[in-house]
């Protein structure tokens, strides 16, 4: 079995509204799989179900062959699920370095050491230094997150997610709100990380999607209307109608 | 507003040293919060009582906020910094439970004008600890005796669901002897409509209830509003129908029966003098048993001070123990545990000319009774 993520028949309704309607898709090891669709297509709902923040009404989610449909979020993370948020979600009062340190520390599931000194844990700080050295954020290590620029926050989120060495990384609109240059940096960072883990990418920026994705799934009104590689999707008339076409007009 | 000015004005006058050789008396009492009026009564009654003896004294009054911690803090300062050897004034037994041991350990004397927790009345009694008011249980035993004497055999007894409430019902039942249906109310409950329905349903010959302060006011108002006042007689022990409660309740109290150790129509010189002095000093404030107990405390302390002065604690202790004063309640003596041995009276609440309730003494129902804890006290 090669699938890192396998979703089968996932359905979630809110009252009368069906947000995800019998969605099935797979993500292979080392692959970047993009999930696109117009606003309100149910992409975020799907991501939240994979993370465990929402429970599906029907269907299954397997991570690396294990059924995680009903697991609490923390256990999914322990099995190798990482994520970034659409609206950046960081520890605003802490520095870049401290944020990363917590992520590294959390990789072992955290701990209840109440008498050690966080400041003295060399193995954690060494790893943080290593990660930062290899990234554009290096010079900003001591800055409090609240003072970072938007693009830098997005970068930090990605670094934190990657530092946990996930099997599968869920990227919820990593380009949202980024300028052209910042987008390019993000694309480079994602390309660099490709191969370390599989990624499920939710994104509106089509240039980024076609630059990164090995495969693309199109979601409209909670339903998968097409799936395939970049060229197939570009050529698919249904997709053009439902989604890409709209964008042209 | 005027009332306020007079009472604070008086406080200031008292707190400034009156005389060079005046004995300092520490008064720790509850002046803030809903129960603040009790502390006010005690402070003012004590002042009048002491003045009546002509003793040289200086009161140091401080609020305990009904909090044991604050009480001990104040006691500590009075005892150890200001060198006060004689304390009094506490309203609530939770405060006295903390302050009294502190006082006794410091070798000082405590004379209680009100609170008398049973924990200090029995085996843990102490030569330097006096209670001028009453032991809790006796209050309600008197009511039980009264209900029995009036010929009732079935009763509903109501009290809050805490220790003093349970003691009240136990005390009432002990002397009453008939069938008692017990109903406990919530500790901070103020609407008793449910209990009124239960009383009507149980249809007893008499109702006994113990709810001091605001709860008592609410209970009596609602008793009348439920139409029970005319149909089921009620017997009360004195904390549930003090002058302040009656004033707030108004005509709703007329027709009730109460038991007390003192009432303002007592025919003795001390009581008459006190009533007159109070009316002159506080014309708009009712004179309650709290103030009367404090007045008696003042008479006791003042008398002892006149005899032996405030320097020699041992002599003062002996003078207090002798209880050689003309109490406003007529007969008064200390039992083995230095709690009162006194008479209890049946009173009825009648309407005065204006239709407002007034307490009228009817007969003596218990004579020279002490309390059950005295037997455990080995002094």
């Amino acid at each position: 079995m090669n699938h890192v993520l396998e979703i089968a028949g996932l359905t979630k309704t809110f009252g009368g509204l069906t947000a995800t309607d019998n969605v099935s898709l797979t993500v292979n090891a080392g692959e970047i799989h993009a999930l696109i669709g117009p606003n309100g297509a149910g992409k975020s709902t799907l991501i939240n179900q994979i993370c465990g923040e929402l429970m599906p009404n029907a269907g299954h989610i397997h991570l690396a062959g294990r059924d995680i449909t009903r697991l609490p979020p923390a256990e999914r993370v322990a099995l190798g699920l990482g994520r970034t948020f659409q609206i950046t979600s960081l520890l605003d009062d802490m520095t870049v370095r401290e944020n990363l340190a917590l992520a590294v520390q959390a990789r072992e599931g955290g701990n209840f050491r109440i008498f050690d000194r966080a400041a003295n844990r060399a193995e954690v700080w060494d790893e943080v230094a290593e990660i930062l050295a290899a990234s554009a954020l290096g010079p900003r290590a001591g800055v409090t997150v609240a003072d970072l620029a938007h693009g830098e926050k997005k970068q930090l989120e990605l670094l934190m997610a990657l530092s946990q060495r996930p099997r599968l990384l869920l990227l919820d609109e990593p380009m949202a709100g980024l300028g052209h240059l910042e987008s390019q940096q993000m694309i480079d960072a994602l390309l660099a990380a490709r191969g370390d883990c599989a990624m499920l990418l939710v994104e509106h920026d089509m240039d980024a999607v076609f630059a990164l994705a090995d495969r693309v799934t199109v979601l409209v009104y909670g339903r998968v209307i097409a799936a395939g590689n970049a060229d197939e999707i570009r050529a698919n008339p249904a997709v053009r109608d439902a989604y890409l076409g709209e964008e042209d007009t | 507003m005027r009332k306020l000015l007079t009472s604070t004005g008086m406080l200031v006058a008292l707190m400034s040293p009156a005389h060079a050789e005046a004995t300092k008396i520490g008064v720790i009492t509850t002046l803030s919060g809903p129960a603040g009026y009790l502390g006010e009564q005690i402070r003012d009654g004590l002042t009048l009582g002491l003045q009546a003896t002509g003793a040289e004294f200086e009161l140091v009054v401080e609020d305990d906020a009904r909090d044991p911690n604050t009480g001990v803090q104040v006691a500590d300062r009075m005892l150890n910094e200001e060198g006060i050897k004689l304390l009094t004034g506490i309203v609530f037994s939770n405060v006295s439970g903390a302050v009294v041991p502190e006082t006794l350990d410091a070798g000082a004397i405590y004379v209680s004008p009100n609170a008398a927790p049973s924990g200090l009345a029995g085996a843990k009694c102490h030569p330097n600890y006096f209670v001028v008011s009453w032991q809790n249980d006796s209050l309600h035993e008197a009511s039980g005796a009264a209900a029995k004497k009036l010929g009732y055999t079935t009763a509903v007894a109501l009290a809050p669901n805490y220790q003093a409430g349970k003691d009240a019902i136990a005390g009432f039942s002990r002397e009453f002897g008939g069938t008692v249906t017990e109903i406990y109310t919530g500790v901070e409950q103020s609407d008793f409509a449910g209990e009124m329905a239960q009383i009507r349903n149980a249809a007893p010959q008499v109702v006994f209830q113990f709810h001091p302060g605001g709860q008592g006011i609410a209970f009596l108002k609602q008793y009348q509003q439920a139409g029970l006042l005319g149909s089921v007689p009620m017997v009360l022990s004195e904390p549930s129908y003090d002058g302040v409660i009656l004033k707030a309740v108004g005509p709703a109290a007329v027709g009730l029966t109460g038991t007390t150790h003192w009432n303002d129509d007592f025919d003795n010189a001390a009581s008459k003098a006190m009533v007159a002095e109070w009316a002159a000093a506080f014309p708009t404030t009712p004179l309650t048993t709290y103030a009367q107990q404090a007045y008696d405390t003042g008479l006791l302390i003042g008398g002892a001070l006149n005899k032996v002065g405030g320097e020699d604690i041992e002599a003062l202790q002996a003078a207090l123990k002798a209880a050689d004063f003309a109490s406003t309640r007529g007969s008064f003596a200390f039992g083995a545990n230095q709690h009162p041995v006194q008479d209890w009276y049946l009173t009825s609440i009648e309407a005065d000319e204006a239709g407002n309730p007034k307490i009228v003494t009817k007969e003596k129902i218990l004579e020279a009774v002490g309390d059950v804890y005295a037997a455990d006290c080995k002094m």
Binding site: - | Y37, N161, A193, Q225, A226, V244, A248
Partner: protein
């Protein structure tokens, strides 16, 4: 049976009193996001002002008017003077500030009215009782309280569902930013809501004054039960406050009335009494704990 009907009425009457207090509190809570511990103090202001004026004038109705006016003015002053600066702060600062307000209100009341509880009597026309079913005379004043409570509930329903102000209030309770985005005079809306909440608390205070004891600190006792109602009902939901208020009032009364009796079937009398009342005192808290465990945001949470 008669006992049951009477207890149900008692529960209803307690319930509407809780609702009067909780309605204002839940709106203030939901719209401004402020934890107002001093809401009980406004109840006390209403009761004292009402009682004092009715003593002076001899008319309950004059007292009622005075109580409403006094509490509304107090509410508006508190909003303008203190609350306004706290909206942007976190809950902790609000707790501290409103606790300080309780101290100030209580002690000012002592300074103005003294420590003695005030006496108020029933209004003449409601001083008797009505025989609802044969053999059950019920105080007509309590029926009056129930009627007023239900009328206010209906009025609030109309206000909130049928008027523009109500629309803003509803919008504000479910999404605070949205009202701001609508370009409404937020300051005015906040002051109005706070004043309305204070007015309702004052109304509850005046209505309670002939039944209860009008004394300093009377608001501190009822404020806890009010918060329980607000939280069970769902913060910001007037409907929730109504349902929770009635349910809580009923449960509280029923537990007190019948639990000791039920327990007596299985244990000796006085122990059953004590335990029964013990459980009923904890009853509303127990209920809140259970409801919150099942529905962490209360029954009718307005905020998503």
């Amino acid at each position: 049976m008669i006992l049951l009907i009477e207890q149900l009425l008692n529960g209803l009457q307690y319930g509407v009193t809780l609702f009067l207090l909780a309605a204002g509190l839940t709106l203030i809570f939901g719209i401004m996001g402020v934890i107002n511990l001093a809401h009980g103090a406004l109840y006390m202001v209403g009761a004292f002002a009402g009682a004092w004026v009715s003593i002076q004038t001899g008319s309950f109705w004059a007292g009622l008017l005075a109580g409403l006016v006094a509490s509304a003015i107090a509410g508006v002053l508190v909003e303008l003077g203190v609350m306004r600066r706290l909206y942007a702060r976190d809950h902790l600062d609000q707790v501290l500030a409103t606790f300080a307000l309780i101290l100030i209100f209580n002690q000012s009341t002592v300074l103005i009215f003294g420590r003695q509880p005030l006496f108020t009597s029933l209004p003449e026309m409601f001083s008797g009782s009505v025989e609802i079913v044969p053999g059950l005379p019920y105080p007509s004043y309590r029926l009056f309280v129930i009627a007023v409570g239900l009328a206010v509930a209906f009025g609030l329903y109309l206000l909130i569902n049928k008027t523009r102000i109500g629309m803003l209030v509803r919008a504000g309770a479910s999404n605070r930013q949205m009202v701001r985005a609508l370009g409404v005079n937020i300051g005015g809306l906040y002051t109005a809501v706070f004043g309305l909440g204070a007015l309702l608390a004052g109304l509850a205070g005046v209505m309670a004054s002939p039944i209860m004891s009008v004394q300093v600190g009377m608001g501190d006792e009822i404020i806890l039960a009010t918060f329980v109602v607000v939280v069970i009902g769902g913060v910001g939901s007037v409907k929730g406050a109504f349902v929770a208020g009635i349910v809580l009032g009923m449960c509280d009364t029923m537990l007190r009335a019948f639990l000791p009796g039920l327990l007596q079937q299985v244990m000796p009398g006085s122990e059953a009494q004590a335990l029964g009342v013990g459980i009923s005192s904890m009853g509303i808290y127990l209920m809140m704990a259970i409801i919150l465990l099942v529905r962490p945001r209360g029954l009718f949470a307005a905020q998503g």
